[in-house]
Symmetry: C2
Subunit: 126 residues, 2 copies
């Protein structure tokens, strides 16, 4: 690569953000984004999250919820009912991901559901 | 779980979307979201993407770009210069992810950069 100009350097610095990387790779972890979307739809109990998300195992759900708890996105609440119920509530930080989930859902709806082949073939179309 | 009402069933169906899952797990794959963000900032050449993204190896960048090409998000263009330059342009489908990258960046800025401890400690705050 040629020597970088001051303009290039600034562009490069703006192009990378470690906080963005942390965020995108957190919500994109297998099942994590899916669990968050279900919670944003008001599904809070462990058993219901399991029922709402096909092919998700108990072990994986449990692991992901623990990670989300550690990240401060969900809070675990035990309700002393018979039988005991366990709910996972979104914190303010977790609820703030609503906008993210919404815009990804829209993109998926437009580009994967309704134009599934878009650009898959190398048409050269840009 | 108790028997599900019709309302519950509908809520469950809306809570899960396979296209959303595909989208969120695609952009959240390690480095993928980061590469897309750099491209949206106008960084298109292989060598410049490498320079803009710390700790990203040649092999990984190459692999991720091939995946993005297969998904129809980028198109590879060879410019017959001396030396030959290779650029990766975003397709319309790829550029449409601009809104996603922006809203994730905002969330990261607010909740990871400026309130990094938010909710990490089990404060019980919901």
């Amino acid at each position: 690569m040629d020597t970088l100009s001051k303009h290039d350097l600034q562009q490069f610095e703006e192009a990378f953000c470690p906080y963005y990387q942390q965020a995108v790779e957190l919500i994109g972890r297998k099942w994590t984004g899916v669990i968050l979307r279900a919670q944003l739809h008001g599904i809070l109990r462990f058993s219901e999250l399991k029922a709402a998300i096909p092919a998700l195992s108990d072990r994986m759900l449990s692991e992901r919820l623990k990670e989300l708890e550690a990240e401060g996105l969900v809070v675990r609440r035990v309700i002393p009912d018979t039988p005991v119920r366990v709910e996972y509530l979104l914190t303010a930080k977790g609820r703030a991901l609503g906008a993210v989930v919404e815009v990804i859902s829209s993109w998926a709806d437009q580009w994967l559901k309704h134009t599934p082949g878009a650009g898959r073939a190398a048409t050269g179309e840009v």
